[in-house]
Symmetry: C2
Subunit: 293 residues, 2 copies
Amino acid sequence: MTVTLEPLFLGIDGGGTHCRVRLTDHSGAIIGNGLAGSANVYSNPYGTLESIMQAVDQALEQAGLDCQAMPRIYAGIGLAGGAMPAAVDFLQQWQHPFAKARFVSDSHIACLGAHAGADGSILIIGTGISGWSIVEGRTRSWSGWGFPFADTGSGAWLGLRLYQLTIDALDGIIPHTEMTLAMAADYQHRAENMVQAFQQASPAQMAELAVRVVEHAALEDRHALTIVAEQQKIIRSLLTSMHTFNHQPIALLGGLSEFVSSHLTEEFKQLLTGTAGDPLSGALLLASEGVTI
Amino acid sequence: MTVTLEPLFLGIDGGGTHCRVRLTDHSGAIIGNGLAGSANVYSNPYGTLESIMQAVDQALEQAGLDCQAMPRIYAGIGLAGGAMPAAVDFLQQWQHPFAKARFVSDSHIACLGAHAGADGSILIIGTGISGWSIVEGRTRSWSGWGFPFADTGSGAWLGLRLYQLTIDALDGIIPHTEMTLAMAADYQHRAENMVQAFQQASPAQMAELAVRVVEHAALEDRHALTIVAEQQKIIRSLLTSMHTFNHQPIALLGGLSEFVSSHLTEEFKQLLTGTAGDPLSGALLLASEGVTI
C-alpha cells in the first residue's frame, strides 16, 4: 500500500431531515457516501455537527479510509439555516477536522449544483419555498422565511389552502367540490375535528395535504384550480423579481417543481432552465474551488 | 331584615382573557358585578370554574350577600369554547351551586344581547372572527376556527398580512409603501429579525399589528388598501352566507367592527343592524328565560 497525500473532496448537504455526504478522490470519482439525521444548523447547531461527522464516518468507511484521512479532506458544506447570522458565527468557531471547510446555506450548494458552478438562480418549491441566486460570487435570497406565517406558494401552503377551503365549505361559506368533500370525509365532516387534528401541525404535515391539491387539479376540481391560480400568481411574482434582478436562468427544484412549471405560461417557462447537477455536486464544486492538485 | 326567597339572576360572560359577571334582583336592577381571569372552558376547564366562582363571589359581596344566596340564583353562562363537545360534557358534570344554570358559548350570549333576545345574527371581528345566529332556538356558527390556520379576515389576520407584505417588500418582490417601511424600520429592515420576533407569536400579538393597517388605510397607503380589499372580500362572503341562510339582521361586534363596516358598500350595510345590549345582558336574558317570579 502506497501512502498518498492527494486531496479528497467532500460534499455535504445538510437539510432539516437528512444530512447527505459524498466523498470523491482527486480525480472526481465517488469513493464513498454517507447519510445521517437532521442538519439544520440554525435550530439545532450541535446536532448538526453530530450528523455531519456521523455521515462523514460512513463515507470514509465505504472508501476504506478512517479518521487519519481527515487532513486530506477539502469540504464544501451547505446547511439548512446556514445563512442565518447566528449560524455563521457558530460554524466559524467549530474546530473541524478537515484540511479546509467552506460553509454556505443548503440553497447555495443547490444553486451551484443546478448550474454546474455557473452564475444562475434556483427556486426551490417543496415543503417550503425559497429562491437563491449567485452572480459573480454575490448571492441573494427570496422568500423562505418559514411556515405558517410566510412561505406562501409552498407545499405546506398548498395544504393550508386545502384546509381553509374545506373549513369554509363545512361552514357553508363556499360550496363543496370533490376535493373538499374528500378532505372533510376524513374528519367526519366536522370542522372541529380538523381544527383539533391540525392544531400543532408541522410544515411537513401540512405539505402532505398538497398531494390532494395536485391530484384534484389534474381532475380540474374547481377549488383545486383556485389554489393553483393563487400559487401561480405567487410564483410569477417571485420569478419576475428574480429575473428582473439579474436576468439569469432559473432552475426549479423541489418536490413540487414539476407541478408548478406544468401550469406556467410560456412567457415564464422561458425564464427557466434545466438542472445540471444535484446539491451534493454543488457542494463538491465548492470544496474543490481553488484547490490545486 | 326580612328573609326573601325571590330569585336572583346572574349573567356570566367568560372569554379567553376575562370572566365578567352581572347580578340582578328579580326586578332586573343590577346589584353586583364581578371580574376574574381567563374562562375558556375548552382550553382550561378547571380554571374556568375557578374564574366563574371568583367573579360570582365578588358580585355577591357587592350586593351584600354571601354564598347562602346561591340557591336563589338563576345563571345564564356563556363561555369561550363552550360550544365544543368536550366542553359541553365537562359543564354538564359540574355540580354547580346555583338553583339553575344554563351553559352556552360566549357567541350565543353576545347574539342574544345584541338582538335583545330576538332572532338574529352577529359577526364578531376582533382578534379572531366568528359568526353566530339564533333563529327559533336553533343556532349556527360561521368561521371562528382559530389563528393562524383559520380566522381569515380577523385582526390577527390583518397583522399577518402586514407581516407578509413587509417581508415581501424586504425581499424585493413588491415595492415598499409607508406602511411596510414603518414596520420594517422597527426590525432594522431585516426579514430575519421579523421572523425571529414573530416565530411564536400569539393571535393577540399578531392582532396588535392590525392597528398599523387601520391607520395606514386611512392614509390610503396602497398595501393597506390591498389588505382592506382582501378583508372586505372575506367579510362579504361571510355576510352573504349568513344572510342567505336566515335573512336575519346582522350586528357587527368586536374591536374591528367599525373599521370593517366603514368600508362596506351600501348593499352590505343594509344587512346590518345596531346592537341592543352587551353579552352580559344576553346572559341575563338566558338566565331569566322561563323563570316565573
